[in-house]
Symmetry: C2
Subunit: 318 residues, 2 copies
């Protein structure tokens, strides 16, 4: 039996030693919002910060999972330990659409040097960003050389986990017209590396040209954003992608911005976690509360406006 | 001089009477987070709920503003009063990209029966959704028959204002491959009406077919989502779009779901406003606080994990 709020020492030791099952167990605990999971992260946190964390974002269907599989293969060829965390925000209806992609990573399931996990939103408010951050920290603590975070991002969606990455890679494909427009309009943040996957497509050249055009308009920084063509399903372009990711890391290390990024990311994470908890507390304390129901009825009846109702809710709380 | 927390009676009277300048002034007040603005919304709120509120979402560049202009023209032809609220989440760098679109609405600037306003994010946290909701309520109160809310949405971005609409229209164009994939993956919510704009494009048929394919997989509801082809720049397809929007409204009125939608929307708005304020309070109380800086330093030094730091922050607060 474990002491409440404390994890059994064995689990954290095994996790720190790189035991795959301990890592899986730890992630399940944080995913279930189990206090033991939080205690585990607390214990192993001093051992984090050593993994190279790369975030991959981009619209669904561009082949991110296939790209992850190719990158894992590449890393294993260099005997590096890798963990992949895939965040799946798709709705319960169509979940199959994204989960099917996971199969592409299955060749690595039996490899002790590879850990793969996917997390779905399950409709829990804010819970996903919280759990995924904790999971990424556990992966880092378990001694992985690389942590790859995969998330769907189109526009400025809640890509919180991406904010945990040292290097952000945007994956597009020929036909990613909406993302190009979003980049152009400044709605999508400029990443560190851009990948055009499925580059055997006849429109790949046009896409690369369009991206180049947009990047030429962006304010010039010290890092020139590379555009890498890959054909992940055929293992093409992966060497170059790994090289560019490495160059970006060297660049931010040399410049001193890696430490700065991590500081900013960690500070954001603290604030985000605090805000998520505040909102959850608010929702818990108001759910099934007769006074709140009455207040909401007043809003629906157009007697109390939403802002005033929100203010009253907060007064009740404090 | 106005009494703090109260608006001058004249402003609310003029706004309720449909005075364009009073409406503009009111929106500026809420945009500036002026207490007079909140008081104004509070006063006029009982007079809201009469406008037909339609939300238009979709990736940038598909021609939403041109479509708005065509819809305004159409509404004016039937002597209906219209207000348009455009939400512009683009970054300060590239602001021009979206603001340029506003020019397409300029033909209506001098028409007393039309009110057009655009709001940019200005980087204020949560402030945009708060201000835009208040602005939409003021437009409604000012006696407009229709309120058109235009926002950029790709994936599950923070399209809060769309949640205020009775009818949601998703605008795509041939080449909107990423949005199609997002719909397919269940990452983008299924709207009430889908528009394929720029339908003179050779790939428009393919796009319509793809959308139809996706919709056929969605769980069947009582409303069959129409796909309307428009060529907004040439005023084509607008009659049909207006007809479909009208049919949707009739459908939800007949079914009784309009009231239900509005109830759900208003309840969400109250919770969102409360959560935004909670977060703002938290940020204000921690900014420039030496204790918080120290705590964050502990996180950066990997001595205190982010979740524990968040919990400590919240303890300080309460």
């Amino acid at each position: 039996m474990s002491i409440p709020g404390r994890t059994d020492a064995d689990l954290s030791e095994r996790l720190l030693a790189g035991d795959k099952r301990a890592l899986a167990r730890g992630i399940s605990l944080v995913e279930d919002d189990d206090p033991e999971g939080w205690a585990l992260v607390q214990e192993v946190y001093p051992r984090t910060g050593r993994a190279e964390v790369t975030g991959f974002t981009g619209p669904p269907g561009v082949g991110k999972s296939t790209l992850m599989a190719a990158l894992v293969r590449h890393a294993r060829g260099r005997e590096r330990q890798v963990a992949v965390l895939s965040i799946d925000p798709s709705s319960p209806f169509t979940k199959g659409a994204l989960l099917g992609d996971r199969i592409r990573l299955s060749e690595h399931f039996l490899d002790a040097g590879v850990f793969i996990r996917s997390m779905a939103s399950r409709g829990s408010l804010g819970g996903l960003s919280e759990a995924s951050l904790q999971a990424a920290l556990l992966m880092d603590a378990s001694g992985k050389d690389e942590v790859l975070l995969e998330t769907v991002g189109v526009g400025q969606a809640d890509v919180d986990i991406i904010d945990h990455a040292d290097t952000v890679v945007l994956v597009l494909q020929p036909g990613s017209g909406d993302s190009i427009q979003a980049l152009k309009a400044g709605i999508m943040e400029i990443p560190d590396v851009i990948v055009v996957n499925k580059s055997d497509h006849p429109l790949a050249d046009t896409m690369v040209r369009e991206i180049r055009g947009i990047l030429s308009l962006a304010p010039e920084g010290s890092w020139r954003i590379p555009i890498v063509r890959t054909e992940a399903a055929a293992d093409k372009g992966i060497d170059e992608l790994v090289e560019k990711m490495g160059e970006h890391r060297e660049h931010i290390e040399a410049e001193g911005t890696l430490a700065e990024r991590r500081r900013r990311n960690l500070e954001n994470e603290v604030m985000t976690l605090a805000a998520v908890r505040l909102r959850r507390r608010l929702e818990e304390s108001t759910r099934d509360d007769a006074g709140v129901r009455e207040l909401l009825e007043e809003v629906v009846a157009r007697r109390v406006d939403p802002a005033t109702a929100a203010a009253r809710l907060l007064e009740r709380e404090t």
